[in-house]
Symmetry: C2
Subunit: 141 residues, 2 copies
DNA sequence: CAAATTACTTGCAATTTGCAAGTAATTTTT
DNA sequence: AAAAATTACTTGCAAATTGCAAGTAATTTG
């Protein structure tokens, strides 16, 4: 499984461009784990509830890196590990992710934590957004 | 090309659930055309800039209908036409779509209208959201 | 220093996509 | 009123992508 060198943008429509990057069933789940679940390594992404296949994970990490949404760093604990993190471009996806969560919570049966999340968002959206962002701010891109 | 009767939800995570519905390269483009481009018929969806294949379009319209995001109505002008429209659940995707547009505009080269859109959003987001919503409000679901 | 762990690759089979060419029911044109 | 367009799809098939199981190579642990 080798991925295309360059991703092709189908048009200059902002929605289309975004979908060219993360329009699939898995990319936003990796971003979710980085953004909300403090996951940082290949192994941690692998053991999600949705059971992403290891080759797909490798492919998507490459894609997200090549589109500037995540970056690889040295893991402080071990040479055998790789630390993945969101770049600023990735962190900027917070409002997208939050609105997806709020929509899904409103229209589907989801985990209780999502209902809690929606309630807190209703109280103070700006504050919550900043709080999430502050937790992710990072030195190197 | 026959589609699976039922879509399978991989987990109760709100992001995952949303992706099970619209996590592909085309669904949100149909929603975009309904939401922002006043498109309403099969033929209109077909002639987008991104050139969706006709079998894929048929498949996605069915999927969006079965998940309650769009609905089919009689076309007032002709029996040969079908009128598609967003349901309330579909209209509720406005904030998701808007945040995707804003993110994409911020990080990519996109159509000039998107820059204009971003500028207006910055001025008065709540007002804009309401305006978009009002244009879509509909009698039958 | 042998067994785990970590981050991937590789080899297929199965599914999905994309393209070209129908088809069936209207609607328009002549 | 027949013939030609239009509209909303379907069908067949090749090509691409996904998903599963089984490696591999470099650390790290017992």
């Amino acid at each position: 499984m080798k991925r295309k060198k360059k991703i092709e943008f189908r048009s200059e429509c902002p929605i289309s461009t975004a979908l060219d990057i993360f329009g699939d069933k898995w990319s936003l789940l990796i971003i979710r784990d980085l953004m909300f679940n403090e996951k940082k390594t290949y192994g941690e992404f692998l053991d999600s509830e949705e059971k992403i296949a290891t080759n797909i994970l490798a492919d998507r990490l490459l894609l997200l890196e090549s589109t500037g949404i995540i970056s690889k760093q040295k893991h402080p604990d071990s040479k055998a590990k790789v630390l993945y993190q969101l770049t600023v471009k990735g962190i900027d996806l917070i409002p997208v992710m939050v609105e997806i969560i709020l929509w899904s919570e409103r229209h589907h049966e989801v985990h209780p934590y999502a209902k809690q999340f929606a309630k807190m968002m209703k109280k103070n959206k700006e504050g919550m957004l900043k709080k999430i962002r502050n937790k992710l701010i990072v030195v190197i891109d």
